[in-house]
Protein backbone atom coordinates (compact mmCIF):
# COMPACT_ATOMS: atom_id res chain seq x y z
CA UNK A 1 0.00 0.00 0.00
CA UNK A 2 1.33 3.38 -0.95
CA UNK A 3 0.31 6.72 0.50
CA UNK A 4 1.01 9.67 -1.81
CA UNK A 5 0.58 13.32 -0.89
CA UNK A 6 1.35 16.80 -2.18
CA UNK A 7 0.36 20.23 -0.83
CA UNK A 8 -3.33 19.78 -1.47
CA UNK A 9 -4.31 16.13 -1.33
CA UNK A 10 -3.33 12.67 -0.21
CA UNK A 11 -4.28 9.30 -1.64
CA UNK A 12 -3.64 5.63 -1.01
CA UNK A 13 -3.12 3.11 -3.79
CA UNK A 14 -2.34 -0.58 -3.91
CA UNK A 15 0.66 -2.11 -5.62
CA UNK A 16 -1.15 -2.11 -8.97
CA UNK A 17 -1.84 1.59 -8.90
CA UNK A 18 -5.52 1.42 -8.07
CA UNK A 19 -6.63 4.28 -5.86
CA UNK A 20 -8.18 2.94 -2.69
CA UNK A 21 -8.88 6.17 -0.81
CA UNK A 22 -8.13 9.85 -1.04
CA UNK A 23 -8.44 13.03 1.00
CA UNK A 24 -8.52 16.41 -0.72
CA UNK A 25 -8.24 19.77 0.97
CA UNK A 26 -11.69 21.25 0.82
CA UNK A 27 -11.01 24.49 2.67
CA UNK A 28 -10.50 27.94 1.24
CA UNK A 29 -7.40 28.10 -0.88
CA UNK A 30 -6.22 31.35 0.69
CA UNK A 31 -2.66 32.36 -0.13
CA UNK A 32 -1.44 32.16 3.45
CA UNK A 33 -2.91 28.69 3.87
CA UNK A 34 -1.21 27.44 0.71
CA UNK A 35 2.07 28.99 1.79
CA UNK A 36 1.77 27.25 5.14
CA UNK A 37 1.27 23.90 3.45
CA UNK A 38 4.17 24.47 1.05
CA UNK A 39 6.36 25.34 4.00
CA UNK A 40 5.34 22.21 5.88
CA UNK A 41 6.30 20.14 2.88
CA UNK A 42 9.58 22.01 2.41
CA UNK A 43 10.50 21.07 5.96
CA UNK A 44 9.68 17.42 5.31
CA UNK A 45 6.38 17.32 7.16
CA UNK A 46 2.97 15.92 6.21
CA UNK A 47 -0.20 17.84 5.43
CA UNK A 48 -3.35 17.22 7.42
CA UNK A 49 -4.94 15.06 4.73
CA UNK A 50 -1.89 12.78 4.62
CA UNK A 51 -1.97 12.30 8.39
CA UNK A 52 -5.66 11.37 8.25
CA UNK A 53 -5.00 8.71 5.63
CA UNK A 54 -1.90 7.49 7.46
CA UNK A 55 -4.02 6.76 10.48
CA UNK A 56 -6.59 5.01 8.37
CA UNK A 57 -3.96 2.94 6.57
CA UNK A 58 -1.15 2.42 9.06
CA UNK A 59 0.54 -0.19 6.90
CA UNK A 60 0.87 2.09 3.89
CA UNK A 61 4.30 3.52 2.98
CA UNK A 62 4.09 7.30 3.11
CA UNK A 63 5.88 9.07 0.28
CA UNK A 64 5.88 12.67 -0.92
CA UNK A 65 4.89 13.33 -4.52
CA UNK A 66 7.68 12.50 -6.90
CA UNK A 67 9.43 9.78 -4.90
CA UNK A 68 10.72 7.02 -7.13
CA UNK A 69 9.12 4.09 -5.36
CA UNK A 70 5.60 5.40 -5.83
CA UNK A 71 3.73 3.32 -8.38
CA UNK A 72 2.03 4.92 -11.35
CA UNK A 73 -1.49 5.74 -10.30
CA UNK A 74 -4.19 8.28 -10.92
CA UNK A 75 -3.03 10.49 -8.07
CA UNK A 76 -5.28 13.53 -7.46
CA UNK A 77 -3.15 16.26 -8.99
CA UNK A 78 -4.31 19.87 -8.67
CA UNK A 79 -6.55 21.23 -11.40
CA UNK A 80 -5.53 24.36 -13.31
CA UNK A 81 -7.20 26.71 -10.82
CA UNK A 82 -5.56 25.09 -7.81
CA UNK A 83 -2.22 25.04 -9.61
CA UNK A 84 -2.51 28.74 -10.38
CA UNK A 85 -3.16 29.44 -6.70
CA UNK A 86 -0.13 27.35 -5.75
CA UNK A 87 2.00 29.21 -8.28
CA UNK A 88 0.98 32.56 -6.82
CA UNK A 89 1.79 31.26 -3.35
CA UNK A 90 5.17 30.01 -4.57
CA UNK A 91 6.02 33.47 -5.90
CA UNK A 92 4.98 35.00 -2.58
CA UNK A 93 7.20 32.50 -0.75
CA UNK A 94 10.13 33.41 -2.96
CA UNK A 95 9.62 37.09 -2.21
CA UNK A 96 9.50 36.27 1.47
CA UNK A 97 12.74 34.32 1.14
CA UNK A 98 14.38 37.26 -0.60
CA UNK A 99 13.30 39.66 2.13
CA UNK A 100 14.52 37.32 4.88
CA UNK A 101 17.93 37.15 3.25
CA UNK A 102 18.63 40.58 4.69
CA UNK A 103 18.60 38.96 8.10
CA UNK A 104 21.58 36.81 7.28
CA UNK A 105 24.47 38.12 9.42
CA UNK A 106 27.05 36.63 7.06
CA UNK A 107 25.72 38.74 4.21
CA UNK A 108 25.48 41.84 6.38
CA UNK A 109 29.00 41.37 7.66
CA UNK A 110 30.24 40.90 4.11
CA UNK A 111 28.68 44.15 2.96
CA UNK A 112 30.03 46.06 5.97
CA UNK A 113 33.55 44.75 5.47
CA UNK A 114 33.52 45.37 1.72
CA UNK A 115 32.02 48.83 2.18
CA UNK A 116 34.71 49.73 4.66
CA UNK A 117 37.43 48.43 2.31
CA UNK A 118 36.02 50.44 -0.57
CA UNK A 119 35.69 53.53 1.56
CA UNK A 120 39.25 53.14 2.80
CA UNK A 121 40.56 52.83 -0.75
CA UNK A 122 38.57 55.87 -1.86
CA UNK A 123 39.76 57.83 1.15
CA UNK A 124 43.43 57.07 0.52
CA UNK A 125 43.10 57.94 -3.15
CA UNK A 126 41.37 61.21 -2.39
CA UNK A 127 43.81 62.11 0.34
CA UNK A 128 46.73 61.59 -2.03
CA UNK A 129 45.00 63.71 -4.64
CA UNK A 130 44.40 66.49 -2.10
CA UNK A 131 48.07 66.53 -1.16
CA UNK A 132 49.10 66.78 -4.81
CA UNK A 133 46.55 69.47 -5.46
CA UNK A 134 47.68 71.65 -2.53
CA UNK A 135 51.34 71.20 -3.39
CA UNK A 136 50.57 72.32 -6.94
CA UNK A 137 49.72 75.76 -5.59
CA UNK A 138 52.01 75.69 -2.58
CA UNK A 139 55.13 73.81 -3.67
CA UNK A 140 56.97 74.50 -0.46
CA UNK A 141 54.38 72.90 1.75
CA UNK A 142 55.52 69.82 3.61
CA UNK A 143 53.39 67.24 5.39
CA UNK A 144 54.75 64.67 7.67
CA UNK A 145 52.46 62.94 10.06
CA UNK A 146 49.84 65.66 9.64
CA UNK A 147 48.79 64.48 6.17
CA UNK A 148 45.52 63.29 7.58
CA UNK A 149 44.81 66.70 9.09
CA UNK A 150 45.20 68.36 5.70
CA UNK A 151 41.56 67.79 4.86
CA UNK A 152 40.48 69.72 7.92
CA UNK A 153 43.04 72.45 7.33
CA UNK A 154 41.83 73.02 3.78
CA UNK A 155 38.20 72.93 4.84
CA UNK A 156 38.80 75.58 7.48
CA UNK A 157 40.53 78.01 5.12
CA UNK A 158 38.60 80.77 3.39
CA UNK A 159 41.10 81.18 0.59
CA UNK A 160 44.51 80.07 -0.58
CA UNK A 161 46.31 82.80 1.33
CA UNK A 162 44.80 81.62 4.60
CA UNK A 163 45.75 78.04 3.79
CA UNK A 164 49.30 79.11 3.01
CA UNK A 165 49.54 80.86 6.36
CA UNK A 166 48.26 77.76 8.17
CA UNK A 167 50.82 75.63 6.44
CA UNK A 168 53.56 78.20 7.20
CA UNK A 169 54.49 78.84 3.60
CA UNK A 170 54.45 81.91 1.38
CA UNK A 171 51.50 82.78 -0.81
CA UNK A 172 52.14 81.70 -4.38
CA UNK A 173 52.22 83.97 -7.47
CA UNK A 174 49.53 81.92 -9.21
CA UNK A 175 46.34 80.95 -7.42
CA UNK A 176 43.15 79.12 -8.25
CA UNK A 177 40.08 80.86 -9.56
CA UNK A 178 37.15 81.42 -7.24
CA UNK A 179 35.27 78.36 -8.42
CA UNK A 180 38.45 76.29 -8.44
CA UNK A 181 39.14 77.18 -4.83
CA UNK A 182 35.59 76.33 -3.92
CA UNK A 183 36.02 72.93 -5.53
CA UNK A 184 39.35 72.36 -3.81
CA UNK A 185 37.94 73.34 -0.46
CA UNK A 186 34.94 71.07 -0.80
CA UNK A 187 37.25 68.27 -1.83
CA UNK A 188 39.14 68.83 1.40
CA UNK A 189 35.89 68.74 3.33
CA UNK A 190 35.09 65.45 1.69
CA UNK A 191 38.42 63.98 2.69
CA UNK A 192 37.97 64.98 6.31
CA UNK A 193 34.41 63.62 6.61
CA UNK A 194 35.59 60.28 5.29
CA UNK A 195 37.61 59.80 8.44
CA UNK A 196 34.48 59.95 10.59
CA UNK A 197 32.54 57.70 8.24
CA UNK A 198 35.27 55.10 8.21
CA UNK A 199 35.31 55.03 11.99
CA UNK A 200 31.56 54.57 12.14
CA UNK A 201 31.70 51.77 9.59
CA UNK A 202 34.39 50.01 11.54
CA UNK A 203 32.34 50.35 14.71
CA UNK A 204 29.43 48.69 12.97
CA UNK A 205 31.75 45.86 11.89
CA UNK A 206 32.99 45.49 15.45
CA UNK A 207 29.48 45.33 16.89
CA UNK A 208 28.21 42.77 14.39
CA UNK A 209 31.37 40.66 14.55
CA UNK A 210 31.36 40.53 18.36
CA UNK A 211 27.82 39.25 18.20
CA UNK A 212 28.19 36.86 15.26
CA UNK A 213 31.71 35.59 16.02
CA UNK A 214 32.18 35.97 19.78
CA UNK A 215 35.05 33.51 20.27
CA UNK A 216 37.12 34.70 17.35
CA UNK A 217 36.48 38.34 18.23
CA UNK A 218 37.87 37.59 21.66
CA UNK A 219 40.86 35.77 20.19
CA UNK A 220 41.98 37.99 17.31
CA UNK A 221 39.74 41.04 17.55
CA UNK A 222 36.43 41.68 15.80
CA UNK A 223 37.85 43.36 12.70
CA UNK A 224 40.20 40.53 11.80
CA UNK A 225 37.59 37.92 12.75
CA UNK A 226 35.11 39.63 10.43
CA UNK A 227 37.58 39.76 7.58
CA UNK A 228 38.44 36.07 7.85
CA UNK A 229 34.77 35.11 8.07
CA UNK A 230 33.94 37.13 4.97
CA UNK A 231 36.87 35.70 3.04
CA UNK A 232 35.69 32.22 4.03
CA UNK A 233 32.22 33.01 2.65
CA UNK A 234 30.28 32.70 5.87
CA UNK A 235 30.48 31.45 9.40
CA UNK A 236 29.58 27.85 8.69
CA UNK A 237 32.08 27.47 5.89
CA UNK A 238 34.68 29.23 8.02
CA UNK A 239 34.14 26.57 10.67
CA UNK A 240 34.60 23.78 8.13
CA UNK A 241 37.80 25.07 6.56
CA UNK A 242 41.03 23.27 7.40
CA UNK A 243 43.29 25.41 9.58
CA UNK A 244 45.92 25.41 6.84
CA UNK A 245 43.48 27.27 4.63
CA UNK A 246 42.65 29.72 7.40
CA UNK A 247 46.35 30.35 7.77
CA UNK A 248 46.72 31.57 4.19
CA UNK A 249 43.36 33.24 3.59
CA UNK A 250 44.29 36.49 1.91
CA UNK A 251 47.52 35.22 0.38
CA UNK A 252 45.90 33.56 -2.60
CA UNK A 253 48.23 35.11 -5.15
CA UNK A 254 51.30 33.81 -3.35
CA UNK A 255 49.65 30.46 -2.72
CA UNK A 256 48.69 29.68 -6.28
CA UNK A 257 52.03 30.97 -7.45
CA UNK A 258 53.61 28.41 -5.12
CA UNK A 259 51.44 25.68 -6.62
CA UNK A 260 52.25 26.71 -10.15
CA UNK A 261 55.92 27.57 -9.99
CA UNK A 262 57.19 25.75 -6.91
CA UNK A 263 58.06 29.01 -5.15
CA UNK A 264 58.00 28.80 -1.32
CA UNK A 265 54.43 28.82 0.02
CA UNK A 266 53.11 31.85 1.93
CA UNK A 267 53.28 31.57 5.71
CA UNK A 268 50.33 33.83 6.44
CA UNK A 269 47.58 35.84 4.78
CA UNK A 270 45.22 38.17 6.61
CA UNK A 271 46.47 36.60 9.84
CA UNK A 272 49.61 38.65 9.38
CA UNK A 273 47.66 41.65 10.57
CA UNK A 274 47.62 40.32 14.09
CA UNK A 275 50.51 41.69 16.18
CA UNK A 276 51.32 38.18 17.41
CA UNK A 277 52.45 37.45 13.87
CA UNK A 278 53.56 40.81 12.51
CA UNK A 279 55.49 41.82 15.63
CA UNK A 280 57.33 38.54 15.91
CA UNK A 281 60.75 37.91 14.41
CA UNK A 282 60.61 36.59 10.88
CA UNK A 283 61.82 33.11 11.68
CA UNK A 284 58.95 32.32 14.04
CA UNK A 285 56.14 33.88 12.06
CA UNK A 286 55.39 30.63 10.28
CA UNK A 287 55.12 28.66 13.52
CA UNK A 288 52.96 31.26 15.15
CA UNK A 289 50.72 31.53 12.10
CA UNK A 290 50.18 27.79 12.17
CA UNK A 291 49.35 27.72 15.86
CA UNK A 292 47.15 30.77 15.66
CA UNK A 293 45.32 29.43 12.61
CA UNK A 294 44.46 26.20 14.37
CA UNK A 295 43.14 28.13 17.37
CA UNK A 296 41.12 30.34 15.05
CA UNK A 297 39.62 27.23 13.45
CA UNK A 298 38.56 25.94 16.85
CA UNK A 299 37.04 29.28 17.75
CA UNK A 300 35.26 29.35 14.39
CA UNK A 301 33.62 26.02 15.15
CA UNK A 302 32.48 27.27 18.55
CA UNK A 303 30.99 30.33 16.90
CA UNK A 304 29.29 28.48 14.06
CA UNK A 305 27.73 25.83 16.28
CA UNK A 306 27.00 28.38 18.98
CA UNK A 307 28.84 26.75 21.85
CA UNK A 308 30.11 28.51 24.96
CA UNK A 309 32.17 31.41 23.65
CA UNK A 310 35.77 31.83 24.64
CA UNK A 311 36.62 34.15 27.51
CA UNK A 312 39.73 36.16 28.17
CA UNK A 313 41.07 33.26 30.19
CA UNK A 314 40.93 30.99 27.14
CA UNK A 315 42.68 33.60 25.03
CA UNK A 316 45.38 33.96 27.66
CA UNK A 317 46.19 30.27 27.32
CA UNK A 318 46.78 30.81 23.63
CA UNK A 319 48.95 33.81 24.36
CA UNK A 320 51.01 31.74 26.77
CA UNK A 321 51.56 29.17 24.04
CA UNK A 322 52.64 31.89 21.61
CA UNK A 323 55.11 33.15 24.22
CA UNK A 324 56.46 29.63 24.59
CA UNK A 325 57.17 29.50 20.86
CA UNK A 326 58.92 32.85 21.04
CA UNK A 327 61.06 31.65 23.91
CA UNK A 328 61.92 28.34 22.30
CA UNK A 329 63.39 30.03 19.24
CA UNK A 330 65.26 33.15 20.31
CA UNK A 331 67.58 32.98 17.31
CA UNK A 332 67.00 31.99 13.72
CA UNK A 333 67.74 28.32 12.98
CA UNK A 334 70.74 27.86 10.81
CA UNK A 335 69.76 26.03 7.66
CA UNK A 336 72.91 23.93 7.79
CA UNK A 337 71.97 22.32 11.11
CA UNK A 338 69.87 19.42 9.99
Amino acid sequence: MWLWYDWRAAAVADGNGNIVDEEIWDGNYHQHAIIERLQIIAKGGMIKEAKVLAERFPEATVLLHGEEQLPDADWPFPDDEAQASADTAAIAMSKLGVAMAAGDPDKRLEYLVRASDEMRTAHLTMEARLVEWVVLFLPDARFGADRSALGNTVADSDDLEMLAKKLAVESPPVGPSKSEWKALREFGEGVSTFRGRLDRLENAVRTLATEHLPSNSMLIGPLLAARLCVEAHGRMRFARLPSGTVQVLGAEKAFFNHLKTGAPPPKHGHIFMHPWVSRSPKWIRGKISRTLASKISIAAKIDAFEGTPWTEADVELVEIRIEEIRNNFPTPQSRLQR
Binding site: A42, G66, A90, M93, S94
Partner: protein
Protein backbone atom coordinates in the same frame (compact mmCIF):
# COMPACT_ATOMS: atom_id res chain seq x y z
CA UNK B 1 12.73 37.66 -56.44
CA UNK B 2 15.30 34.94 -57.00
CA UNK B 3 18.16 37.43 -57.34
CA UNK B 4 17.46 38.94 -53.87
CA UNK B 5 20.03 37.90 -51.30
CA UNK B 6 19.37 34.59 -49.63
CA UNK B 7 17.52 35.70 -46.54
CA UNK B 8 19.17 34.17 -43.51
CA UNK B 9 16.10 34.98 -41.47
CA UNK B 10 14.42 31.99 -40.01
CA UNK B 11 11.63 31.88 -37.49
CA UNK B 12 12.48 29.21 -34.95
CA UNK B 13 9.02 29.60 -33.42
CA UNK B 14 6.15 32.06 -33.32
CA UNK B 15 8.26 34.32 -31.11
CA UNK B 16 11.90 33.53 -31.83
CA UNK B 17 13.70 34.70 -34.94
CA UNK B 18 17.24 33.94 -36.02
CA UNK B 19 18.91 36.25 -38.50
CA UNK B 20 22.42 34.94 -39.17
CA UNK B 21 24.20 35.36 -35.85
CA UNK B 22 21.53 37.55 -34.34
CA UNK B 23 18.70 36.16 -32.27
CA UNK B 24 15.47 37.95 -31.40
CA UNK B 25 12.36 37.15 -29.38
CA UNK B 26 9.03 38.95 -29.39
CA UNK B 27 8.84 41.09 -26.27
CA UNK B 28 6.15 39.78 -23.94
CA UNK B 29 6.46 43.01 -22.00
CA UNK B 30 6.75 45.69 -24.69
CA UNK B 31 8.85 48.81 -24.25
CA UNK B 32 10.89 47.30 -21.43
CA UNK B 33 14.36 45.85 -21.54
CA UNK B 34 15.32 43.18 -19.02
CA UNK B 35 19.10 43.31 -19.05
CA UNK B 36 19.88 46.24 -21.29
CA UNK B 37 19.26 44.36 -24.53
CA UNK B 38 18.17 46.40 -27.55
CA UNK B 39 14.58 46.52 -28.67
CA UNK B 40 13.64 46.69 -32.31
CA UNK B 41 10.48 46.57 -34.34
CA UNK B 42 10.15 44.20 -37.26
CA UNK B 43 6.93 44.63 -39.25
CA UNK B 44 5.35 46.51 -36.38
CA UNK B 45 6.15 43.93 -33.72
CA UNK B 46 8.67 44.67 -30.97
CA UNK B 47 11.48 42.14 -30.57
CA UNK B 48 14.19 41.94 -27.91
CA UNK B 49 17.72 41.04 -28.90
CA UNK B 50 18.76 37.71 -27.41
CA UNK B 51 22.39 38.24 -26.51
CA UNK B 52 24.36 35.00 -26.91
CA UNK B 53 27.21 36.33 -24.81
CA UNK B 54 24.84 36.75 -21.86
CA UNK B 55 22.64 33.70 -22.41
CA UNK B 56 24.03 30.21 -22.72
CA UNK B 57 20.83 29.00 -24.29
CA UNK B 58 21.11 31.76 -26.87
CA UNK B 59 24.73 30.83 -27.52
CA UNK B 60 23.75 27.19 -28.01
CA UNK B 61 21.04 28.15 -30.48
CA UNK B 62 23.57 30.07 -32.53
CA UNK B 63 26.23 27.37 -32.33
CA UNK B 64 24.14 24.26 -32.85
CA UNK B 65 24.83 22.30 -36.00
CA UNK B 66 21.32 20.89 -36.08
CA UNK B 67 18.04 22.71 -36.48
CA UNK B 68 18.07 25.35 -33.72
CA UNK B 69 14.35 24.92 -33.16
CA UNK B 70 15.16 21.51 -31.66
CA UNK B 71 16.66 23.26 -28.64
CA UNK B 72 13.48 25.14 -27.78
CA UNK B 73 10.51 23.77 -25.89
CA UNK B 74 7.07 24.01 -27.48
CA UNK B 75 5.17 27.20 -26.75
CA UNK B 76 2.55 26.81 -24.04
CA UNK B 77 4.31 23.97 -22.24
CA UNK B 78 5.60 23.70 -18.69
CA UNK B 79 9.37 23.63 -18.28
CA UNK B 80 11.87 23.33 -15.44
CA UNK B 81 14.96 25.55 -15.25
CA UNK B 82 17.55 24.83 -12.58
CA UNK B 83 20.02 27.61 -11.84
CA UNK B 84 17.83 30.42 -13.09
CA UNK B 85 20.33 33.19 -12.39
CA UNK B 86 19.18 36.75 -12.90
CA UNK B 87 16.65 35.83 -15.57
CA UNK B 88 18.46 36.59 -18.83
CA UNK B 89 17.76 33.32 -20.65
CA UNK B 90 14.52 32.95 -18.76
CA UNK B 91 13.09 36.18 -20.07
CA UNK B 92 13.55 35.01 -23.66
CA UNK B 93 12.15 31.59 -22.84
CA UNK B 94 9.18 33.37 -21.36
CA UNK B 95 8.73 35.44 -24.51
CA UNK B 96 8.46 32.18 -26.43
CA UNK B 97 6.60 29.94 -23.97
CA UNK B 98 4.12 32.50 -22.66
CA UNK B 99 4.04 35.73 -24.62
CA UNK B 100 2.21 38.85 -23.59
CA UNK B 101 -0.21 38.15 -20.74
CA UNK B 102 0.72 34.51 -21.13
CA UNK B 103 -1.60 34.05 -24.07
CA UNK B 104 0.30 30.86 -24.92
CA UNK B 105 -0.41 29.38 -21.49
CA UNK B 106 3.14 28.41 -20.68
CA UNK B 107 4.69 27.80 -17.28
CA UNK B 108 8.34 28.22 -16.28
CA UNK B 109 9.38 26.82 -12.91
CA UNK B 110 12.77 28.42 -12.19
CA UNK B 111 14.87 27.37 -9.24
CA UNK B 112 17.89 29.20 -7.85
CA UNK B 113 19.70 29.18 -4.54
CA UNK B 114 20.80 32.81 -4.38
CA UNK B 115 18.44 35.38 -2.85
CA UNK B 116 20.18 38.02 -4.96
CA UNK B 117 19.06 36.25 -8.13
CA UNK B 118 15.59 35.60 -6.79
CA UNK B 119 15.22 39.30 -6.16
CA UNK B 120 15.56 39.92 -9.88
CA UNK B 121 13.44 36.90 -10.82
CA UNK B 122 10.54 37.89 -8.59
CA UNK B 123 10.58 41.38 -10.12
CA UNK B 124 10.52 39.77 -13.53
CA UNK B 125 7.61 37.58 -12.47
CA UNK B 126 5.59 40.67 -11.56
CA UNK B 127 5.38 41.66 -15.20
CA UNK B 128 5.53 38.21 -16.78
CA UNK B 129 2.69 35.89 -15.79
CA UNK B 130 3.62 32.26 -16.14
CA UNK B 131 7.01 32.72 -14.54
CA UNK B 132 7.34 30.93 -11.20
CA UNK B 133 10.61 31.70 -9.38
CA UNK B 134 11.57 29.37 -6.55
CA UNK B 135 14.19 30.07 -3.91
CA UNK B 136 15.58 26.63 -3.36
CA UNK B 137 18.37 24.15 -3.77
CA UNK B 138 18.31 22.47 -7.18
CA UNK B 139 19.42 19.28 -5.46
CA UNK B 140 16.63 19.13 -2.89
CA UNK B 141 13.67 18.06 -5.00
CA UNK B 142 11.49 17.34 -1.98
CA UNK B 143 11.42 21.01 -0.97
CA UNK B 144 9.84 22.35 -4.17
CA UNK B 145 8.98 19.23 -6.21
CA UNK B 146 5.29 19.51 -5.39
CA UNK B 147 5.14 22.46 -7.77
CA UNK B 148 5.69 19.96 -10.59
CA UNK B 149 2.77 17.56 -10.59
CA UNK B 150 3.60 16.16 -14.00
CA UNK B 151 6.87 15.53 -15.76
CA UNK B 152 8.07 18.10 -18.25
CA UNK B 153 9.23 17.82 -21.81
CA UNK B 154 12.03 20.33 -21.40
CA UNK B 155 14.64 20.71 -18.67
CA UNK B 156 17.54 23.15 -18.50
CA UNK B 157 20.32 23.14 -15.95
CA UNK B 158 23.04 25.75 -15.43
CA UNK B 159 24.28 25.51 -11.87
CA UNK B 160 28.10 25.53 -12.31
CA UNK B 161 28.64 23.41 -9.23
CA UNK B 162 30.70 20.35 -8.59
CA UNK B 163 28.46 17.33 -9.02
CA UNK B 164 26.39 19.18 -11.61
CA UNK B 165 26.25 16.10 -13.82
CA UNK B 166 24.81 13.94 -11.06
CA UNK B 167 22.29 16.64 -10.24
CA UNK B 168 21.26 16.75 -13.88
CA UNK B 169 20.90 12.99 -14.17
CA UNK B 170 18.77 12.86 -11.03
CA UNK B 171 16.65 15.76 -12.22
CA UNK B 172 16.16 14.13 -15.61
CA UNK B 173 15.09 10.89 -13.94
CA UNK B 174 12.64 12.67 -11.72
CA UNK B 175 11.25 15.45 -13.88
CA UNK B 176 11.92 14.76 -17.53
CA UNK B 177 9.15 13.00 -19.42
CA UNK B 178 9.83 10.29 -21.96
CA UNK B 179 11.07 11.74 -25.24
CA UNK B 180 11.74 15.00 -23.41
CA UNK B 181 14.79 17.20 -24.00
CA UNK B 182 17.33 18.02 -21.32
CA UNK B 183 19.97 20.72 -21.75
CA UNK B 184 22.98 20.73 -19.45
CA UNK B 185 25.23 23.77 -19.51
CA UNK B 186 28.56 22.60 -18.18
CA UNK B 187 31.45 24.72 -17.01
CA UNK B 188 34.62 22.67 -17.22
CA UNK B 189 36.22 24.47 -14.30
CA UNK B 190 33.42 23.44 -11.95
CA UNK B 191 34.27 19.79 -12.32
CA UNK B 192 36.66 18.20 -9.88
CA UNK B 193 40.20 18.46 -11.18
CA UNK B 194 41.55 15.02 -11.97
CA UNK B 195 44.39 16.01 -14.26
CA UNK B 196 42.34 15.57 -17.42
CA UNK B 197 42.29 18.28 -20.01
CA UNK B 198 39.07 19.99 -20.92
CA UNK B 199 38.28 17.72 -23.85
CA UNK B 200 38.56 14.70 -21.59
CA UNK B 201 36.32 16.31 -18.98
CA UNK B 202 33.62 16.87 -21.57
CA UNK B 203 34.07 13.37 -22.96
CA UNK B 204 33.64 11.94 -19.46
CA UNK B 205 30.41 13.87 -19.05
CA UNK B 206 29.07 12.41 -22.28
CA UNK B 207 29.91 8.93 -21.06
CA UNK B 208 28.20 9.56 -17.73
CA UNK B 209 25.07 10.85 -19.44
CA UNK B 210 24.90 7.89 -21.79
CA UNK B 211 25.45 5.46 -18.94
CA UNK B 212 22.54 7.07 -17.13
CA UNK B 213 20.33 6.16 -20.05
CA UNK B 214 20.15 9.60 -21.66
CA UNK B 215 20.82 9.89 -25.37
CA UNK B 216 23.33 12.63 -26.07
CA UNK B 217 22.04 14.22 -29.24
CA UNK B 218 24.61 17.02 -29.47
CA UNK B 219 27.48 18.53 -27.53
CA UNK B 220 27.63 22.22 -28.37
CA UNK B 221 30.86 24.10 -27.75
CA UNK B 222 30.09 27.63 -26.56
CA UNK B 223 33.64 28.93 -27.05
CA UNK B 224 33.65 32.52 -28.20
CA UNK B 225 30.49 33.26 -26.27
CA UNK B 226 31.27 31.42 -23.05
CA UNK B 227 34.72 29.87 -23.05
CA UNK B 228 35.33 26.48 -21.43
CA UNK B 229 31.62 25.76 -21.51
CA UNK B 230 29.84 22.96 -23.29
CA UNK B 231 26.11 22.54 -23.63
CA UNK B 232 24.87 18.97 -23.84
CA UNK B 233 21.52 18.35 -25.49
CA UNK B 234 20.11 15.01 -24.39
CA UNK B 235 16.90 13.17 -25.00
CA UNK B 236 15.27 10.79 -22.58
CA UNK B 237 14.38 7.75 -24.60
CA UNK B 238 10.83 6.47 -24.32
CA UNK B 239 10.64 3.08 -22.64
CA UNK B 240 9.16 0.50 -24.89
Amino acid sequence: MSKKNRSRKEDLSWAVRKDGRALWSINANPRSSVYGESLRRFSGVEYRRWDPSRSKLGAAIIRTKRNPALLLPLAGETILYLGAGHGTSISHLHDHLCGHDNHQGGRLVCVDLAPRCLRDLTHLADSRPGLIPVLGDARKFSAWGVLMPRKVKWLFQDVSQAGQVEIFIKAANRFLADDGIGLLSLKAASERWTGDDEAQVFANVEIALEQAGLTVEESIDLAGFEDNHMLFAVRKPSNN
